[in-house]
């Protein structure tokens, strides 16, 4: 017993001995952990993003019709063809106009909705839900509702019915490019689908503005309403506004579903993605031309993004401002 006690007193504590052992397995191997958790996603990124981008670049120099493994090298011919296609070049202008309009409009509408529901004292949850719910609707489903029920060209379409009450003849909203009523259909659809999401972002930002600021402003004589909004609310929303504008620009770049479903075989009102889809994935199956267009579009997006970053200072540290 005493021997045992003596040995216990002189031997190191088991816990200490355990700490001294080199750490093994998942807890000990940081490199293994890194690859274990990032590896699958890295593999996915390489397979589904980097390989297609590289392959697309390669395809753009080949005559790749009805094949993605072509052998006929044609240099820059696909680029020349795409850049001489009035549908593609026209779509770049269309996109620019669309983005220039839809970004500020959605920004203003979502901010307006946020201000509205922020100040509500009754049925607040209901109205927040009403404005947010369209976000859950798919672009395709919404496009079909807009096209077939609200803005169809027959007398019992919702829009034409309302116009009929005022004696206005039925309007072909999407078939006729002059006047360009199709923009009304596209813009209302996009606003309906998107405004609720950005409203939530603004709402969160509004709730984060300290009430002391408004109290201090009131003491200093600021009038509630426009003056408070102009000099307190809007500056406090600067970071959120920047993020919203960036997200809206990205969404505008990605415009596809509603244009594809609403405009059909029109040659106007087509963003570049729709043109490229029809060239490459659609009936023409020209992966060479489609890839060349994708490369051109990617370069343009990079230029615009860099330009936007320069203007808005997005990603720049506070100290460098």
């Amino acid at each position: 017993m005493s021997t045992t006690t003596a040995r216990d007193l002189t031997s190191p504590a088991p816990a200490k001995a355990s700490q001294a052992r080199p750490r093994r397995g998942l807890r000990g191997n940081a490199t293994l952990n890194f690859w274990l958790f990032t590896g699958p996603f890295l593999i996915g990124l390489v397979i589904f993003v980097f390989v297609p981008i590289g392959w697309s670049l390669w395809l753009s120099f080949f005559d790749a019709r009805f094949t993605v493994t072509p052998s006929n090298f044609i240099g820059f011919d696909n680029y020349k063809t795409v850049l001489s296609d009035p549908n593609f070049t026209g779509s770049l202008v269309t996109f620019t106009v669309f983005a220039a309009f839809i970004v500020p409009t959605t920004w203003a509408l979502s901010l307006g909705l946020a201000l509205l529901v922020h100040r509500l004292t009754f049925m607040r949850a209901f109205f927040r839900s009403v404005f947010f719910l369209p976000t859950a609707c798919s672009y395709v489903a919404a496009s079909l509702i807009w096209k077939m029920s609200i803005f169809n060209g027959v007398r019992f379409g919702l829009a034409n019915t309302v116009l009929g009450w005022f004696g206005v003849d039925q309007v072909a909203w999407l078939a006729d490019p002059s006047p360009p009523w199709y923009w009304l259909v596209i813009v209302t659809l996009r606003l309906w689908l998107q405004a609720g999401f950005y409203m939530i972002l603004f709402l969160a930002a509004l709730q984060n503005i300290p009430s002391e600021l408004y109290e201090a402003a009131a003491i200093d004589g600021a009038k509630p309403g426009w003056q408070t909004f102009r000099y307190i609310t809007l500056p406090q929303l600067r970071a959120t506004s920047t993020a919203v504008i960036l997200l809206l620009l990205v969404a505008a770049y990605q415009a596809f579903d509603e244009f594809f479903n609403l405009m059909g075989k029109a040659t106007w009102g087509q963003p570049p993605l729709v043109i490229l889809y029809k060239t490459a994935i659609g009936v023409n199956q020209d992966y060479g031309q489609g890839s060349a267009g994708a490369v051109i579009l990617t370069l343009l997006i990079c230029i615009v993004t860099l330009f936007q970053g320069k203007i808005m200072g997005f990603g720049r540290g506070e100290e460098s401002k």
């Binding site: 699958p40 019709r65 009805f66 027959v154 003849d169 059909g264 040659t267 659609g282 023409n284």
Partner: protein, 421 residues
């Protein structure tokens, strides 16, 4: 000690399993859903692609035929929406490609080696097929598809509405424009040509006395007659007498059946629905002639069955196509006449199709035989799309027809050069 050891082992096992799943799940998701049914039957697994037919019962019929085939498990992908081509063509480049699919004869499918030569299965019954259908599927003496149905397209009109407005059945484009004006009221538009007007683009060419391509596979559509037709269609488009943006497009007869228009471009497949809605109060007539050198025309569309030449089961697929679309005459007649009306491409089946022998259906068959123009296998989807743009830019957008046709020529010539050198 042993207990501690077990605990440690279990934790590691769980983590390893989780990590394994994390790796395996995205890879597994890469594509097992190829549409092949997990059928319990023996034999090959075949997949067939069909576009969605609008008539009730067609999908069930196609699946019923497939189920009756005993030498392979045939699963059907019924592709809804109006972009069947957009799903079929990319699929043909992948391992998930269908073994058998329906489409129209297109030479680029042959040039790119995507469809198998079916000459050996058609040859024994070749003489029983409509010769124009055989011709439209033949390249260098080989036949690349089995015609399932012929679908003539022409105008449907409400007899009572024309009588009330004292309008005769139009035989020229000028008369059609005039008729549309007389038939238009506050509630009914005179004419419906489809929502984007591209449905009648081939007839515009044929009725102006031109053709898409000539015998030497050179451009034949760029004529003064076609320019005249485009100019007149623009006048019609802006007249306010044309139904535009209808909820359903030309392939659905509901615009006429619901009284939205007095005359509608449509296909013979819609005839049973129109008969059900209007009884005998409707007739059919061909696309009217344009200019002095034009003549009336009917587009003989239709669908054909092709075998994916790059698939793993080419022989089994050919065997299935032979069984269904050559041997099983009762299914072919059922498919052609029990749902929408189509003309069977086999003379022996057409001869016994009693539903097509009277009334408007018989008139439709007569128009098919008198004014019909069949698919030109050299007029490819890219060329069709190029002419879609002509319709969009001239008729709907008021562009200059000559310059629009020049632009179309550039695209079509580029395509012709790639196909024929």
């Amino acid at each position: 000690m042993s207990a501690q050891s077990n605990t440690s082992w279990n934790r590691r096992s769980i983590l390893r399993a989780a990590a394994g799943l994390a790796v395996a799940a995205p890879l597994a998701a890469c594509g097992s859903n190829n549409g092949r049914g997990g059928g319990s039957g023996s034999g090959k697994q075949l997949v067939q692609y069909f576009h969605a037919y609008g008539e009730a019962g067609v999908e069930q019929a196609v699946k019923r035929y497939a189920k009756a085939y005993t030498k392979a498990n045939v699963s059907t992908q019924w592709i809804t929406g109006s972009n069947f081509e957009n799903k079929l063509f990319p699929a043909l480049l992948t391992k998930q490609a269908p073994d058998v699919f329906e489409f129209h004869p297109q030479i680029q499918l042959i040039k790119s080696g995507q469809v198998a030569d079916l000459t050996d299965i058609i040859d024994p019954v070749k003489d029983d097929f409509n010769p124009a259908d055989i011709k439209s599927h033949t390249v260098d003496g080989k036949i690349y598809g089995v015609r399932m149905i012929d679908d003539p397209q022409f105008f449907f009109y409400r007899k009572s509405m024309l009588e009330k407005a004292n309008v005769a059945v139009p035989t020229t484009l000028d008369e059609l424009i005039e008729a549309a004006a007389k038939l238009t009221t506050s509630k009914v538009k005179g004419l419906f040509l489809g929502n984007d007007l591209t449905a009648i683009q081939n007839n515009l060419i044929w009725s102006a006395g031109a053709d898409t391509l000539d015998e030497k596979n050179q451009i034949a559509y760029h004529t003064d007659g076609v320019i005249e037709g485009l100019t007149k269609l623009r006048k019609l488009f802006t007249s306010g007498n044309l139904l535009l943006d209808a909820p359903a497009d030309f392939w659905d007869p509901s615009a006429l059946n619901q009284g939205l228009c007095a005359i509608q471009w449509g296909g013979m497949w819609g005839m049973p629905a129109t008969q059900a809605a209007l009884g005998d109060d409707f007739g059919v007539f061909p696309f009217p002639k344009i200019g002095s050198s034009g003549k009336q025309s009917v587009y003989n569309g239709g669908w054909s069955m092709f075998v994916n030449a790059k698939g793993d089961n080419v022989e089994a697929a050919k065997e299935y196509v032979k069984w269904l679309w050559i041997d099983q005459k009762q299914y072919q007649e059922d498919f052609a006449t029990s749902y929408g009306f189509h003309i069977p491409p086999r003379a022996s089946i057409a001869a016994q199709a009693t539903k097509l022998k009277s009334g408007a259906a018989a008139d439709g068959v007569k128009l098919f035989n008198t004014y019909g123009h069949f698919d030109n296998i050299g007029w490819t989807q890219a060329m069709i799309t190029a002419f879609n743009d002509v319709i969009a830019n001239t008729v709907r957008k008021n562009g200059d027809p000559k310059s629009a046709l020049d632009t179309c020529d550039t695209k079509v010539n580029r395509e012709l050069k790639k196909l024929f050198g």
